[in-house]
Amino acid sequence: MPITVEHVTHFLTAAAALIHERRDELTALDAAIGDADHGANLDRGFTAVMARLPSVADKDIGTVLKTTGMTIVSTVGGASGPLYGTAFVRAGMALADRHELSTEEVLLALEAALDGIVARGKAQRGEKTMVDALAPAIEALRAALAAGEPLGRALQAAADAAEGGAKATIPMLALKGRASYLGERSIGHQDPGATSTAYLLRALAMTCSRVEEGA
């Protein structure tokens, strides 16, 4: 069963719910090595996305994702606003005019999202940012799909890899974003952006697994 615009809406709804649920945790992570706003920032952004979704519900998947990205840019601020915003806009651009997605197109969209984040933020892997969750997630997805896994299971693997990537930021020295100002003191704390990225992938995996089960 292919991914439709309805499933994308379900994914965004699940993402918004998960971010809201984890808001305080994300803020607490940001308090340790940043400025204690990451949870509030994303929650504000996804709340705005939820309010915008009905107005594009009858549009193509590309439009829904671009609208999501632009809404995030316009409401989140901070570092994560332009980064996640660009990620969704780029994913949307990669899926322009599509009403149904193949498995490969899901991978394509995630790759476009990562490219967008790197273009905007210039972070490499290992610098303690959201890139350290998204990059391994894409690798895991690619590998699982190559091994013939169905999309839902493959995305579960991607979400696991993102979570592992987020945990792996703990011993890292931050070299990008606000946490870099702490120097050595950034070591020993999990990056908030990598953590929120893992939640977004978890929401995606959950939605697609349900699609498969429903199929």
Partner: protein, 332 residues
């Protein structure tokens, strides 16, 4: 969390509403997107705008007015504003001579201003940007996000604002701004943390006998934790790295800016200023101008930052030029 607020999510809007009434002669406040704009904008000059997270008051909104900023874009507390705000403010102050964006060097501020500048350029507005990065507490900045923009931002906004008011063109404004940034250095410390309203808890914890040295302005922990020390030693800790970094030399004339972090009373700022003056005197550095007060803050944090700016004659002239904003006013 003990604050004079109604609901954490409304603090910024309600404070803006208060500012609009209290300073109705100087500014207008536009909501959604939020920005503070000088009365009568656009003016026939280069527009000068800044912006950043809220919680640093009076910066930047308190600096909107004659001879300083044309507009300021306040984000959520400690969160850079979104491009929509800077785009709307840029349009509102563009009098046809272009607009200068004054950006503090934080990843979020830089990216959001960048996006706004791209959008403004697409609408045919000439935009130049200057990024302040004066915080010497950030070492090894080559491989990282670079140094933070802190106290110099206030001085730069005043000096460039005066240049724009006097009719300098966009390229000249940008060049002066870069010269100010290049000649300024800052460092700060905290006695207590602060609490972001939406977070509800302090950003870090400090024992009764501890302080954070090398903090920024976002309630974040500093570079290192130290045992509480007398004013004299704290002054050395802050002034030392600043003086060595530029370096400031015997015979230099400086603007000495002693800034409170929001919860520090003026009496302590004068004690710290007294120590800084002694240090500068010992090195034969002349204090040509001074600023003592809480101008770039971290909510209710107790602490202090020092900023030294090496002055040339043009900077002095521009610093002394009339200014009339809610938080800085002289000569008119």
């Amino acid at each position: 969390m003990k604050k004079l607020i109604n609901a954490p999510e409304n603090v910024v809007k309600e404070a803006l509403a208060g500012m609009a009434i209290a300073h109705a002669d100087l500014i207008d406040v536009h909501f959604d997107p939020d920005y503070i704009v000088r009365k009568g904008a656009p003016h026939n000059k280069v527009g000068v705008i800044s912006g950043g997270g809220s919680g640093h008051e009076p910066m930047h909104g308190g600096f909107v007015g004659y001879g300083m900023l044309d507009a300021a874009c306040p984000g959520a507390v400690f969160t850079s504003p979104v491009p929509d705000q800077m785009l709307a403010a840029t349009k509102a102050v563009n009098g046809g001579k272009g607009v200068l964006h004054i950006v503090k060097n934080y990843t979020g501020d830089v990216m959001n201003f960048e996006m706004a500048a791209e959008l403004a350029a697409a609408e045919g507005i000439e935009v130049a940007s200057v990024v302040t990065n004066d915080d010497v507490a950030v070492e090894n900045s080559t491989w990282t996000a670079g140094r933070r923009g802190v106290g110099v931002t206030v001085l730069l906004e005043k000096i460039v604002g005066a240049a724009a008011e006097a009719g300098a063109d966009l390229a000249t404004c940008k060049a002066i701004a870069e010269r100010v940034n290049a000649n300024g250095r800052s460092m700060g410390m905290a006695l207590t943390p602060c609490t972001v309203p939406q977070a509800g808890k302090p950003g870090f914890e400090l024992a009764e006998d501890e302080m954070e040295v090398g903090i920024g302005i976002h309630g974040e922990p500093g570079r290192r934790r130290e045992k509480l020390a007398p004013a004299r030693d704290i002054a050395e800790m802050l002034a030392g790295p600043i003086l060595e970094d530029l370096p400031f030399k015997s015979g230099d004339a400086v603007l000495a800016f002693v800034n409170g972090m929001g919860g520090t009373p003026l009496i302590e700022l004068y004690v710290m200023y007294n120590e800084l003056a002694r240090i500068l005197k010992d090195r034969n550095i002349t204090i040509a101008r001074s600023l003592v007060g809480s101008y770039i803050t971290s909510l209710e944090m107790a602490g202090v930052s020092f900023t030294l700016l090496r002055l040339d004659d043009e900077m002095i002239k521009l610093w002394d030029a009339p200014v009339h904003t809610p938080a800085l006013r002289w000569g008119m």
